[in-house]
Symmetry: C4
Subunit: 412 residues, 4 copies
């Protein structure tokens, strides 16, 4: 059973010399209730990563505008997980507040260059230890995990430091994570940012690490299966799905999330059949509101990693600003800074009550109501609900034309 | 024949681990004339629900901004049906006019909280009886039915009150109605709004009720078939189809109407073959203009339930404002309030003459002209006209770009 | 061979109980050059209707804002055909100039009612004769045909008047023309406008008429075939395709043009095989620029009927305004008035030279360059060029977002 | 093997009488990483045309607003290729700077007429020689090629002049290039612009020419194969793909690029199998940012020809203005002038570093990062990466609605 399974994808023709297939994004799908319903109280949204169990299948992204040493504890105390970016400003500077203000105030034309300058400062191991401790201290339940992320090329160097600092979960994250990387054998320590894929012998690393390892990002069945076989604890799914991620424009690369998740869920299921080990897959990116989280899970995700919804909370580091972590690349900046504003607390974001009707608040409540409506008692059952292709552009486009005219659709 | 029929749906792949199918909305379809035509006078638009026959296959939605004790009679007197929401403000407050004004005047930022406050007031059985009487008294033809709606969890409690009040049709409505509900066995009477699915033994209820029962909403063939077997008089079709219904954004749930109706029509036909009983299906939501009503029937609906067109009449309760009934949910508000304006009377909405050329007036006239053009003499024949997939986004998008430039298309 | 051919259409499922198929509009298709080219001078764009041959496969629509007694001759003298609407203002009023001004100046809110009032005035047979003579007198080549249109219910009554007046081509036009019409046997003469389908025994009419008869509109293979068997000289194809035609919104009815033409071309070919008679099909509606005309012919049309491009000429009756002929319907107005402006003469519209680069001028030149580029020497060869599905929304949408940014695509 | 291969295209029905197939544009596709990655330093982007090898698979289009005698050397010195349009203003006028200013300053309404006037001036052979020398002199590496373009009808006349002038690559370019052209045998020298296809016996021409010949444009498998058999050195792919190219609107002609490239790549592969000769295909048009170039190569292109990105450089001839070369057509202007602005140097456009995050700068860097991320070490490997259909309209549409609201998608 160890061989890569050969599953048949539905293909079609781009032209005579190139085959392709259709991929789908969250905007194109919807969930179908089929009549079995249950009380919200019965909906169990918990999921497990390594030995850690979480009530809330939501992870705050490893982005400087999303997770800081100050708010990581607030997020974890609500039942979610927060990942601090070890290559962000918090481990480069002691006085990062000043920098957050500078980034927020920078003119659009000077923003990229400012970012490139700020992120040139080296990471300081002593700051790594200090922020990990600060986060752990802020947990009301000390058994909750501190999670940090870093690029593959730093993993070996930082492993002892992270073990020493008491980190509980390591997230190894680059645009694309793979097993086979061909290196030019240059001195890679000069590349302070993940602007190019870098080699890491993942199987060896997982074997050596006393800390469970999550890796990403991945969108492919075969790679997902191979990665699971290296001993990882979880897998991030998604490349370039989001509105403000510019990977697709700059590199042409991107896979709509619904298809990426559905492909990798099959890898998870096949790996489980093969080994009995269940490696959760985490949808990363492109989910801004409750309905998107519900769809991600319905496609097969065990949990979701989101950025901007946290960047919009009152406790966000950058007070209403948000930017991508590929922006500071000195040669090829991607991602952009956007003003997202603030509208609710972290508690309201996750647990409500919602004061808005657009799905941007009470994400866990939305998930539970969706599960109750669809008759799904667990995340596993939610992964099996019916999904249809229902392009929202047709109706959403209409909203702008005719909301004033046509008004409210269904009565419920 | 009692078993659920196994009909084959055309499926495709979202990804390796998930199958899906394409669903269609009204915006994506159009009706095809095939040359047989008839005089408008010959078009019979009547339909039947239980023992009640209606000339107009249009039902005003059970929404506070659509049907009030004052305008229900006006709607029924025009040949249509009006459903009063028993859980709306009319049965909670005696002086609801003040509240309608408050809702209309509320700032967008405070609207949801105001709604949550207003709808905390308990329903008063004596007000139920009073409004039912008020509606009946306003009918010119006293044999016409008074219809009220309520959520499943209230059905058993209120049945004696409704029977006593002289209600003629009961509409049991929740986001999704099903037969199998798993309950947490908590005291459900505290949940004053339908924010979660609730159990109701529908077969027992129908057997006990002396009043015909309409239930909804449903989008699935198998559930539709099962619901018909419980003894219901009619079935509402549609979940989250509309522009301003936010179920899709908040919960990820929604099924485009054309497909939902086409699936459930098959259930109606199979149930008819099985039993000889014809249970009408009513398209609920997403229809704002005459053409949408024509399309709903062409897909298989017997009648249509619409909200905003009535909210825009001069006799509407909220004078040009409209909102969804899920908005007051204390934990997860859905639906939104929109200003729809007013532009014609109830009589003009249904029977014309139209003073606008956009399909928003003379809905029955539009249906009759459409039937005459398509050669459909009855609703049953209209259900069988040819439907094509013809994405309107392509031409409608063009309207905004080029209407000034390109101008009028065909000469007829 | 007399039986209706059973051709197989590619079908798919809307839902379990309803089958459908995909139809395409001009916006979704493009023409594919395959390498054979020729000099423009060799492109023969002529086509024939009855015994009349035309150099220009373009017909000006029978709409009051398109063809008047004054400009019909100008259009015909350029090699095209112009159809005067016999039920328009020119045969109801002597002093129509005043009315054209009134229509142009009317406020949007009062427009429909004004139209309903104006078109209540009866048609005057003496005016019919006068305008026919006026048009004939304006031809430089007196052998060119005068064409007029009227609704089916007026055809029998007006035939002697038209024969007497010297009309050369009769266009019988209603939204849908068919062979089987079921009548309520009421007095139809009261219905002054074509707001409902009306009966006309077409085979008898064609046999009796000394004037060749063009009928429309039609979108169906079987009906097209049956209509051709009645003895008609030409067939108009198209129902509700255009941006400003509101039939689709009001009635739900409409068939995208590319599919309608492709279906009816098969009828023309099968009828030709059956009888040796070639009945030209004329695409009516939805063509605003040169490329649309090229596409219509590539789908199978012999000629095209266009409205707004003529309404935008300096010689147009309403000086930059345009409206649909269904607008004055007293009970169900459809079509709308739009300000299209004026930008070139009739000569420049047809023969150029173009001073704009958007395809709105020199329509015949565009057709010839397209034919030369595609290697089509005749209309018949142009009907056989390769057509691909290439949704323009994707690139056209981009024009508006990014034209300033991305700039010009290909260098040719 | 000499015969045209009969490859099967996936077809479908427009209507009963017309078959079609679906074609795809760059906006509809995305590239799929599958886990093999490599260091950027290992990515070899070189390609070969005749005996010339280039590090950068980018060619500046033969357009007056893109390549001038002044900037051609700057482009070539960066490793790319620049094609000077021999029928542009640089060979018609000595003092072209004045004209460039006039074109830039012209009012939109007078622009087309100005262009028509300017391009009436005859081409002067002495200016041809002078600009070729000027370009060659500006190369730092004198072995780099000077490339010029001209229309087929001028090829024979100008070949001796070009050979004499020391031109290294001839590009024969018209809207559609084919092998079979039917001529009216008129004096074609009067047609100063390529407004109609013109005959050139390509096989004879290639045999006679001492200079390698690139021809275009082509979108068809069979024609591509036939053209390769005439002895050409390269083939331009693309007709009407771009945002500002109006061929599709004016003529109805256009093939989405992804499909055109994929079809012609098959011709290249079949010709290579047949003869052992590899004729590179060059995607021409519709690529404005780095991701588009990556996609073109992934579909099968060996190199890309782009216009507007160069028109936006500081060294562009028209300082931020850009126009199509079909615009000056005296009878049927196509293409339009747009203000594209200027934002970086030619060096920054090709080699970076980028100061923008939208893919508009450092095009070679973007290609290398994309190749590294996709694990493609050479252009040949990049041609084989996985491509999916992933309509960007859905997410791009969302950008405008919700970028402020939803914010940044994925964290990488």
């Amino acid at each position: 059973m160890g061989a890569t399974l050969s599953l048949e994808k539905e293909t079609m023709q781009i032209g005579l010399g190139k085959t392709t297939r259709r991929a789908y994004g969250f905007d194109e799908i919807a969930l179908v209730p089929t009549g079995n319903t249950l009380d919200i109280e019965l909906c169990d949204t918990s999921w497990q990563l390594g030995n850690f169990k979480f009530e809330v299948p939501i992870i705050a992204s490893a982005m400087d505008s999303v997770v800081s040493p100050e708010n990581a504890g607030l997020i974890v105390n609500e039942g979610a997980l927060a990942v601090l970016n070890l290559q962000g400003i918090y481990t480069r500077y002691e006085d990062y507040d000043k920098l957050l203000r500078e980034i927020s105030l920078a003119d659009k034309s000077e923003f990229v260059e400012l970012m490139q300058k700020i992120y040139k400062e080296p990471i300081k191991p002593e700051l790594v230890k200090r922020v990990v401790k600060q986060i752990k201290d802020s947990f009301t339940d000390k058994s909750k995990p501190v999670a940090v992320s870093l690029a593959p090329y730093l993993a070996n160097e930082y492993l002892p430091i992270l073990e020493d600092a008491g980190v509980d979960i390591i997230v190894i994250q680059s645009t694309v994570v793979g097993l086979e990387h061909k290196s030019a054998n240059k001195d890679q320590s000069k590349d302070l940012l993940d602007t190019k894929p870098t080699q890491l012998k993942l199987e060896e690393f997982c074997a050596r690490s006393s800390i469970p390892v999550v890796v990403g990002n991945c969108v492919d069945y075969n790679i997902a299966l191979k990665l699971m076989r290296t001993g990882i604890a979880g897998l991030l799914i998604g490349i370039g799905p989001g509105a403000a991620c510019t990977s697709r424009g700059v590199l042409g690369i991107g896979v709509p999330m619904a298809t990426a998740i559905a492909d990798c869920r099959q890898a998870r299921e096949d790996f489980y059949k093969e080994t009995g080990n269940y490696v959760p897959i985490i949808a990363d990116g492109g989910m801004g509101i409750g309905g998107d989280i519900c769809k991600a899970i319905a496609c097969g995700a065990d949990a979701t990693m989101i950025g901007s919804p946290f960047a919009r909370t009152l406790e966000a580091p950058a007070k209403g600003f948000h930017w991508g972590m590929a922006t500071p690349s000195p040669v090829l900046p991607r991602g952009t800074r956007i003003q997202v504003g603030t509208h609710c607390s972290i508690h309201e974001l996750i647990h409500g009550p919602a004061r808005r009707d657009d799905g941007s608040q009470n994400l866990l409540g939305a998930l539970k109501v969706s599960m109750a409506t669809l008759g799904a008692e667990t995340i596993a059952e939610m992964q099996d609900v019916e999904v249809i292709i229902a392009p929202s552009i047709l109706t959403e486009g209409k909203v702008f034309q005719t909301a004033q005219e046509i008004g409210m659709g269904s009565s419920r």
